[in-house]
Subunit: 336 residues, 2 copies
């Protein structure tokens, strides 16, 4: 069932069928209808591989996700979903590559086998060989998150440093003097994971700027760790009056520890941070937080399509600083 078959049955040449389908040259209305009738009857659809070979593009985007073994966070999942959805809107397919390391076979296939027209790279580290590799091969790409040296690459990111700083300022304005940051896991921070590092950077800077006392903790990405982390915090730093966090997965555990210790939010303790809206709203009370925009994947796709269309244009970046949504988990610091 190829284009030749359609041409034969419609009594025209293969090129005419192609032109009728693409509209790149005029085909008489009558011929067009005859061709369309045959196509409908046989349920014909052009062979993607043949088209890709001739056109030199695959109408496919590559999405490099963290290896499957790592559980994706809700935020990451949101990215994947919005990338796939945005791609579908532009009639593009998405090829998944689970690859963390440097010389992953699946990664190599995608970037150098010309299987995709462009690549979106998630969860990059401050130093990331995959970025170097993509630059070598010349495949257009956009990263979600940015490297230590982000010039010349095209990326979208959340401005964790600024947002966490804003959270600190918000709390300082409410009179809090001793604030804790509950960060992501120690391994992530150690491996140079951008959001974790920038959150810490923004935190320490804002703390210093306002002359406050800051405590920063790492916490694995699960409820059990969150629970332990909050307990540890109350044991070692009982005078802390507010918490800032970017660790979504720890929240259920934090909630549990709070309830067990009968700590009222925001009466005894204010909580805020940078979180996917869904997590902020599922907390009790709902958390005042900067909502990570769910549509970042969409913007990444837009940027990538731009880049594919004009590879020589200067790379664009999008840094999101969503406003803090007030939901009632922060209040003036309690009196001693």
């Amino acid at each position: 069932m190829n284009i030749g078959e359609i041409a034969r049955r419609a009594g025209v040449s293969r090129s005419t069928v192609s032109y009728a389908l693409s509209g790149k040259r005029v085909v008489s209305e009558e011929t067009r209808r005859r061709i369309q009738a045959v196509i409908d009857e046989l349920d014909y659809r052009p062979n993607a591989a043949a088209r890709a070979l001739k056109e030199g593009r695959t109408r496919t985007l590559g999405l490099v996700i963290p290896p499957a073994s790592l559980r994706l966070t809700d935020m990451q999942l949101g990215f994947v979903a919005s990338v796939v959805e945005a791609a579908a809107r532009s009639d593009l397919d998405v090829l998944l590559s689970p690859s963390g390391g440097d010389h992953d076979r699946s990664f190599e296939r995608i970037v150098s086998g010309r299987r995709v027209d462009g690549v979106i790279l998630m969860e990059i580290r401050l130093e990331d060989e995959r970025v170097t590799r993509l630059q070598q091969t010349g495949v257009p790409f956009v990263t979600i998150g940015h490297t230590a040296n982000p010039d010349g690459t095209c990326w979208v990111d959340v401005d964790y440093a600024t947002l966490i700083a804003r959270c600190v300022h918000h709390l300082a304005d409410l009179g809090h003097r001793r604030i804790a940051l509950i960060n992501r896991s120690a391994e992530l921070v150690a491996s140079g994971y951008g959001p974790a590092q920038r959150a810490l950077g923004g935190f320490t800077e804002a703390i210093a700027q306002r002359g406050l006392t800051g405590v920063d903790l790492c916490c694995a990405d699960d409820a059990t760790a969150g629970e332990a982390c909050l307990r540890q915090l109350r044991d070692e730093h009982p005078d802390i009056t507010a918490i800032v966090t970017i660790n979504e997965a720890a929240l259920p555990g934090i909630q549990r520890a709070l309830e067990q210790a009968r700590i009222a939010v925001p009466g005894d303790l204010s909580i805020t941070g940078v979180l996917a809206r869904h997590w902020a709203e599922d907390f009790r009370p709902p958390l005042t937080a900067a909502d990570v925009p769910t549509e970042m994947g969409t913007h990444a796709v837009d940027l990538l399509l731009e880049r594919i269309a004009t590879p020589d244009a200067p790379p664009r970046n999008l840094l999101f600083t969503p406003p803090i949504s007030l939901r009632g988990s922060t209040s003036p610091a309690p009196r001693r």
Copy 2:
């Protein structure tokens, strides 16, 4: 940078390069090394489209996921992850198609544009046009979950009916007489979503078999709904002593409602169900539950590869009935 270029530089013909790479004919060791040297130098990798065109297969699997707008549950996410990982192990790529409805463009592209060698279909309904469509086109496919009429198709599934029944029996053995099922959302049940329907079926049958009183509730897939659901349950059926559930997303809300109402688990109320292990373990106390196997995606890929290799072999099915892991959230029914 095509095979011709390599051939030219190595001073051989294109076919020799091809044979050197595939090993389908003997090439002298010396020639082979010369070719490999050129390939390494130029970092050559064969064009995937050209190969797919000639070979008639794409080395790509399609994975049809629920539309991006719906948040995927943890369980679904686990499937995606394990599918992608298993495919990568076989050097296959995975093409994502977010499509719920019948005539989705992305779905059509994938199944009839010969973009993939086979398809894995997630979250199918008891009656699902996509299955019909796949059967029409003749693309090999495997479903995760099965339709009302599962003969002749190839699928893997969790035996919700049996597992939920086992939970009920487990509770009945502990002396519980009034048991509630917290199911997935009412819309899912109404739309003929298999797991929800089969859970309900297994529940009612086991309840009847043991002469118990059963209450079944639908609950949207989020914490807020879970909280409301548990409250409603306590208001309308205060004599319920045990809960069975498959609704993972509702668990955090259920936990909250329990703590607020000072209901002890398992002292006042036993809880069990069919859940991804991670959810069961994150509850306090950890939930006794049948752990949904995370490697179902892997099995789906294996089945699909078999089917691609031998499309005429009778379709195989895998129905998982993992044992109930005892974690301490169930105990003998409290005395009146």
